[in-house]
């Protein structure tokens, strides 16, 4: 792309300073929204842009905003900055490099859904970022961009940071709500969904950092401009977090619909030491394992195309695995993660991840037989569709797809015992 939309700090030095941000068109969208648009106009513009949630689910953002219950007050907005998925490190770069664009997006969302208060929930390890955001918020208040009587209208918007304390589950939106209420971060039964019953039982919009960072540009340049980037069903720019066995890992802002090949081979400069690529996980540890054949590499990375590969785009955290690693080891890593982070509320996830971990541990150490591999497949299949939240469901993606698509690796690992 010719210009960065989200990672603008790579184009414009000093954009993390309020003056530089303002001199480069900053806050014109917030002003435009508050002075010349009704809240519903803002929601409709975001709806028309086709922006979809960048946290993983890909839900249409404007549609979510339109679900806010107008009969129950007050309303709240929450920015989900609890970035903790192995392989995901995009929100951190936005927050560090281009914080005002994100904050402007939060404020516009608050205006659109008529919320006076918005919370930014950050993972505990991001406390230096929270400190900086507090300073940014104070500067915006001093400049009359947050607080009361914004742009001469009777509009009040206040932003507050809130730190988590080391629980992956709090990235799940309903667990985040409980955590913000000072409780254990455990998911809620849904429905009702947050736009009806959210934090403090009030209507709440929860959006990811990257999602909200798109909003100022959509309001400023219009939905039609936004739809000109990416694909028809998955419009806009996306930050792809590329990690694993590539020469140049990092965040790459590209239009949705860019192929795996372009991301991994061109931007990522190919595989370390010229090894052959073996597998791709497109949504961090929550991914199904994709066999990295030509068909997969030529697949455009958008929400629809990934489904044809039996996978999800999720948060677009692309982990590349080369031929020197084998899949039993990979799934042992991801299952350990989920076992550690299971919140313990629902049985399928709490017990299921525990037993999966014992099986993957045994398989990976070469002490298991193919019967154990089948048992693992069986246990994972029984977890499917029975968990309270998506995180339990995600824990089985890698084991199931791994066993089904890379059977030879499991046969090799169990050869000793099978014989």
């Amino acid at each position: 792309m010719t210009e960065y939309i989200l990672l603008r700090h790579r184009d414009i030095a000093g954009i993390e300073q309020i003056e530089t941000y303002r001199n480069n068109g900053g806050f014109t969208a917030l002003q435009k929204a508050i002075t010349s648009m009704d809240p519903d106009d803002v929601t409709n513009e975001v709806k028309a842009s086709g922006l979809r949630g960048r946290g993983g689910a890909g839900f249409p953002t404007g549609l979510k905003w339109s679900f806010i219950d107008g009969h129950n007050w007050p309303h709240y907005v929450i920015a989900n900055a609890d970035e903790s998925e192995p392989g995901t490190f995009k929100d951190r770069e936005i927050l560090e490099g281009n914080p005002y664009q994100f904050l402007e997006g939060v404020a516009i969302c608050a205006y659109a859904v008529k919320a006076n208060n918005a919370y930014i929930y950050l993972r505990g390890e991001f406390w230096p970022i929270a400190k900086k955001l507090d300073q940014c918020i104070a500067e915006m208040e001093a400049a009359g961009l947050l607080g009361d009587k914004l742009f001469g209208r009777d509009i009040s918007i206040r932003l507050h940071t809130h730190l988590g304390a080391g629980a992956y589950i709090c990235g799940e939106e309903s667990a985040l709500l409980d955590s913000l209420e000072g409780k254990l971060g455990q998911p809620r039964l849904r429905p009702p969904f947050p736009p009806a019953v959210g934090v403090y039982s009030k209507p709440t919009i929860v959006n990811n950092v990257e999602t909200l960072s798109n909003v100022p540009f959509i309001i400023d340049r219009g939905a039609a401009w936004f739809k000109g980037i990416g694909t028809e069903k998955s419009p806009g720019p996306k930050i792809f977090s590329l990690s694993g066995c590539v020469n140049r890992p990092g965040n790459y802002e590209l239009p949705l619909g860019t192929t795996f090949r372009e991301l991994i081979m061109d931007h990522g400069r190919g595989i370390i030491e010229g090894h052959k690529i073996k597998a791709i996980m497109a949504a961090g540890a929550s991914s199904a394992l994709i066999m990295a054949n030509d068909e997969a590499l030529n697949t455009p990375m958008d929400y629809e195309s990934l489904q044809k590969l039996g996978a999800q785009l999720g948060s677009a955290s692309v982990i590349v695995i080369d031929e020197t690693f084998d899949i039993p080891w990979v799934i042992n890593k991801t299952v350990h993660f989920f076992q550690h982070e299971s919140c313990g509320k629902c049985t399928p996830c709490r017990e299921g991840t525990y037993w999966m971990m014992h099986l993957t541990e045994r398989i990976n150490s070469g002490e298991a037989s193919m019967e154990d591999v089948e048992l693992l497949h069986d246990v994972a299949s029984q977890i499917k569709g029975k968990c309270l939240c998506a995180l339990g469901e995600f824990s089985i993606e890698a084991p199931l797809s791994g066993i089904e698509r890379f059977k030879a690796d499991f046969e090799a690992r169990t050869a000793k015992t099978n014989a």
């Binding site: 192995p86 505990g124 629980a167």
Partner: protein, 166 residues
Amino acid sequence: MTALLEKYPNEIQAIMAKYPANKAGKRSAVMPLLYLAQHEYGYVTKEAIVQIAEICEISTTDVASMIGFYTLYHDQPSGTYQIQVCTDLPCALRGAEEFLQKLCENLGIKVGEVTSDGKVKVEAVMCLAGCDKAPLFQVEGPDGLEYHENQTVESALEVINKLKQG
């Protein structure tokens, strides 16, 4: 008046002001108050739990359960710096496990153990959102958390030696 309130009236007022001025809002202050207490005492003391419960108008059990659930709160003094190396999949693909092993060998300990002078503990942790800068670790100590990215065993030993002397 509790000791924390006496010492940090402005900070606590600023924390409480973030949330609704009702019972539910008061409970929201429990996480920031736990951080405040931990910063003050090095860990969350029994007395601090009582104080926080009083400020938030919840039971001491509710406060204590937060410490148990969230890994960044501690109810025991550690007296050490904790070197926490991420060994999740993306970091492991870039040599984080080997890095952790060699680092521990150099320090003469096993993963999860404290060095003989009692000053530094080295452990493996879950994702730190720095997968493109592996191997990386965070130092959890009295001054909070600090990230160290793109590390080698040598550079990590340098960081650790400074902590030991400091």
